[in-house]
């Protein structure tokens, strides 16, 4: 880690630091892990299987928890979608973005505008609206990506920071279209009939609006992660990793660094846009105060805590964002603090967790566990080979 603090050339800095920090990103593919896996050999088939298992798991989870937990899962889903895109950009491609909150705002405002129809008229179908939200953010992301591809480290952080600070200001400037500081209220689409009958068949629970939004969020989350996981394991993912780890070597191998960086930014922006769309319908409002710098920074802390470059890590980090503050607040109230003190405890504890993670698990949850596991396996392999040589 000390290498990264001494400016001894780009090559030296990237030699070690990212290896630890992004340990979570370097998942070997199933073929490489050896023959003990029961999963199909084809990446696509394997991911499809995981997708189906996750979908069933999600239905069980949503049907066995209270309506409030359902609403928390809806919140979790939009954080996790955005964090998934960001972890691909930062963990896999090595670019930092402090502007993902702004890209979410693009998605959220697109959704709000699409759903803002006269009473009695039907808005476009929800999947189409969410797709358009993702597309709008993709376009903005591509433009920003072109600028971002030329920048590195602190300069890139600065440029995307400007995006995070500046873009919500547009909503205030064009307040006739975007509702200004007060924002645009989003009339959340009601659950269709087939959903009601589906829930009735599965569990018999009442199909409330909250539940519908939770399902919309979770479905978007699963689809996004399915696409992202396939990208990570494909040639594209490998190229991104090459660009991140050794840009000189990558360029020598014929990879156009700029193009691949723009592509990473665009994909990541697409995820952020979809997350913004989900946020708009879950929160039922798109307002500038919902897309402050704090949002962009919490996404970044989520992927760092979870493990840079890992989708599972992004999910875990987002879960921490959603579940930790209410948990700490309730705990504080139980300990006899008044509500104000308990509320102030939540950001404090989150900060402590972040500091502790940086000190003791700099690779994040997933990265740390994966490194432990790899070390253990290597040791066992060494012991085995040592044993066989001594016997032989």
């Amino acid at each position: 880690m000390t290498d990264s603090q001494t400016p001894s050339g780009a090559g030296a800095a990237t030699d070690e630091a990212p290896v630890t920090a992004t340990a979570a990103a370097n998942a070997p593919s199933a073929q490489a892990t050896g023959g003990r896996s029961f999963l199909p050999k084809s990446t696509l088939l394997r991911h499809l299987l995981v997708l189906v298992v996750c979908a069933v798991g999600a239905v069980i989870l949503l049907e066995s928890t209270s309506p409030f937990r359902n609403s928390q899962f809806a919140t979790l889903s939009y954080y996790a979608i955005a964090a998934g895109g960001l972890t691909l950009l930062t963990g896999l491609n090595g670019q930092i973005s402090l502007g993902h909150g702004a890209l979410m705002a693009v998605g959220a405002y697109t959704t709000a505008l699409m759903l803002d129809v006269e009473r009695g008229e039907d808005p476009l179908p929800l999947p189409l609206i969410l797709l358009l939200a993702a597309l709008a953010a993709t376009v903005v992301g591509a433009i920003v990506g072109v600028a971002a591809a030329r920048l590195h480290g602190p300069y890139l952080a600065g440029a995307t920071l400007a995006l995070a600070v500046g873009l919500p200001g547009l909503a205030i400037y064009f307040h006739d279209t975007f509702g200004g500081e007060q924002g645009m209220t989003v009339r959340a689409p009601r659950a269709p009939e087939w959903f009601t009958s589906f829930i009735d068949t599965v569990s018999g629970n009442p199909a409330s609006g909250t539940k519908w939004l939770a399902y919309v969020g979770v479905v978007c989350l699963l689809i996004t992660y399915f696409f992202l996981a396939n990208l990570v394991r494909s040639r594209i993912g490998r190229t991104w990793r090459a660009v991140r780890d050794q840009d000189v070597a990558a360029e020598l191998a014929g990879i156009n660094l700029g193009t691949w960086r723009v592509l990473a930014f665009t994909v990541s922006a697409c995820a952020a846009g979809l997350a913004g769309g989900v946020l708009a319908i879950v929160v039922r409002l798109a307002a500038p105060s919902g897309f402050t710098l704090v949002l962009s920074l919490s996404l970044l802390t989520a992927i760092v805590l979870g493990g840079l470059g890992s989708l599972l890590g992004a999910l875990l980090g987002s879960a921490l964002l959603v579940f930790l503050p209410p948990f700490v607040t309730d705990l504080g109230t139980e300990w006899g603090l008044n509500s104000t003190e308990a509320a102030q405890l939540a950001p404090f504890v989150y900060g402590v967790v972040l500091v502790a993670a940086m000190l003791f698990a700099p690779a994040g949850f997933v990265g740390t566990i994966r490194m432990r596991w790899l070390t253990m396996r290597a040791k066992r392999a060494m012991a085995a080979s040592a044993g066989s040589t001594s016997r032989g």
């Binding site: 409030f68 209220t185 959340a188 104000t340």
Partner: protein
């Protein structure tokens, strides 16, 4: 058992001693307490709220729930409402609408509150307006003067405003300037959202021809130099500000730097002298020690303030704060919270002994306009309007005390006339707890 419950209700009402006894809260009904709706049990009522307890909006606003809590605590000690103890839960949204929707979800779905009371902020509360109304949760006394809460009860039947809306406030200010300062050249200093917009619309109804400049600031941008310079350049000698307290401090500091000294008129929201004084000292790093630069400032009031320590309501709340507060000084924000809690108790009493959520709403619509309380003017509640109080007085800050320069005027949104409020000043009940009869008896 039912006899016993009724007896305790009557005896606790009698012990209160305030008001006339035969119309005492619940005295007529008799029957036993029942768990009549979500959030109500035989011996408790659960209420929830969202406030910015952390983050940029926390200074000042985070004190409001302390006042509410202290007052409910006091009511609980004195027997509660129909022998039910009030269980008040407030949660932090950091003034971020995304968080508001999460904590209100938690309050409604997990804590299962009977009603939301006093949720604070226009953008924050807008995020939960649709949710609360579609779930049928009473959404009482929103802490914001936006028109959203009251002007369309058909769309939002469960939401009620409480404080004077910004448009009515603007009208009362406009008429005052037209009558008392007919030659003033007026500049407007506005927050760039519906707060500034509604206020401007109200002021312009009366002095459109006197206004020489209207400048807007974006919350979060701390440089108001260009705006104040524009006001100065336009020759305005009377500035009306619809802004939050931190921008009162910023505009004062900027005006000092520019050597600009008009007559200042800050609307109620931005005029808390204690907080502005603290902010001034903080922003100027001690160069301006207190709120003395505000001397001579005009402002509006719809509640008695701590600047009027002789007011009987302030004295009563001071007493309650001393016995049930956390030991800190009483501030206008805590006073606001306690006053709002007072209205809440009136609403709960009026809803009857075993109310449903719809009963609560109907009670406020039916009898809410008749309630007397710490507010200077009555509420405008009816089936067609959920707007809160429509009255304000105007006062001038002299030294550290406020002197009333215009008595309470009442009006309504749109082109409603402004009239002088001819009602009598109210005095608090002896024990500080209201005693409203059930609306349906």
């Amino acid at each position: 058992m039912s006899l016993f419950a009724a007896a305790t209700v009557v005896s606790s009402v009698a012990a209160c001693g305030g008001g006339d006894d035969d119309s005492g809260g619940g005295g007529g009904g008799g029957g036993a307490n029942e768990a009549s709706d979500i959030g109500i049990t035989e011996d408790s009522i659960k209420l929830g709220a969202h406030y910015p307890l952390t983050g940029v909006a926390a200074p000042g606003y985070s004190e409001i729930p302390l006042g509410v809590d202290a007052y409910f605590d006091y009511v609980n000690e004195n027997g509660g409402v129909y022998d039910r103890q009030i269980d008040y839960i407030y949660r932090d949204d950091a003034y971020n609408p995304t968080n508001t929707s999460q904590v209100v979800n938690q309050l409604v779905l997990e804590d299962e509150v009977f009603a939301i009371v006093g949720g604070l902020g226009t953008p924050t509360h807008s995020a939960v307006l649709d949710f609360l109304n579609s779930e049928g949760v009473p959404d009482l006394f929103v802490s914001s003067g936006s028109l959203l809460w009251g002007d369309d009860p058909e769309t939002n039947p469960y939401t009620f405003g409480w404080q004077t809306d910004y448009m009515s406030e603007g009208k009362i200010i406009g008429q005052y300037i037209a009558e008392e300062f007919p030659d003033a050249k007026v500049g407007l200093f506005l927050q760039d959202d519906d707060f500034g917009e509604d206020g401007e619309a109200g002021v312009r109804e009366y002095i459109d021809d006197q206004i020489v400049a209207a400048v807007r600031y974006t919350p979060g941008n701390t440089n108001v130099g260009p705006q104040i310079a524009e006001l100065q350049a336009s020759g305005a000698d009377f500035v009306v500000g619809f802004n939050v307290p931190s921008y009162t401090a910023l505009s004062q500091l900027t005006a000092l730097q520019l050597g600009y000294d008009p007559q200042w008129f800050y609307s109620n929201v931005g005029s808390d002298t204690e907080l502005v004084g603290r902010l001034l000292a903080n922003f100027s790093q001690g160069a301006v020690g207190d709120a003395s630069v505000l001397d001579g400032m005009l402002t509006t009031d719809y509640l008695p303030t701590v600047d009027a320590p002789d007011d009987p309501w302030v004295q009563k709340f001071q007493e309650i704060w001393e016995s049930n507060g956390d030991g800190s000084d009483l501030t206008n924000y805590k006073l606001y919270g306690m006053s709002m809690a007072y209205t809440t108790i009136q609403a709960l009493q009026a809803a009857g002994q075993n109310p449903t959520r719809d009963d609560l709403v109907e009670a406020i619509e039916t009898v809410g306009a008749e309630w007397e309380g710490p507010l200077l003017a009555p509420f405008r509640y009816s089936e067609d309007s959920h707007m809160g109080t429509g009255g304000m007085s105007i006062s001038r800050l002299v030294g550290t005390t406020a002197e009333e320069v215009r008595p309470v005027m009442i009006t309504d949104i749109g082109d409603a006339e402004i009239e002088e409020w001819d009602g009598e000043e109210t005095a608090p009940p002896e024990n500080g707890i209201p005693d409203e009869p059930a609306f349906n008896e």
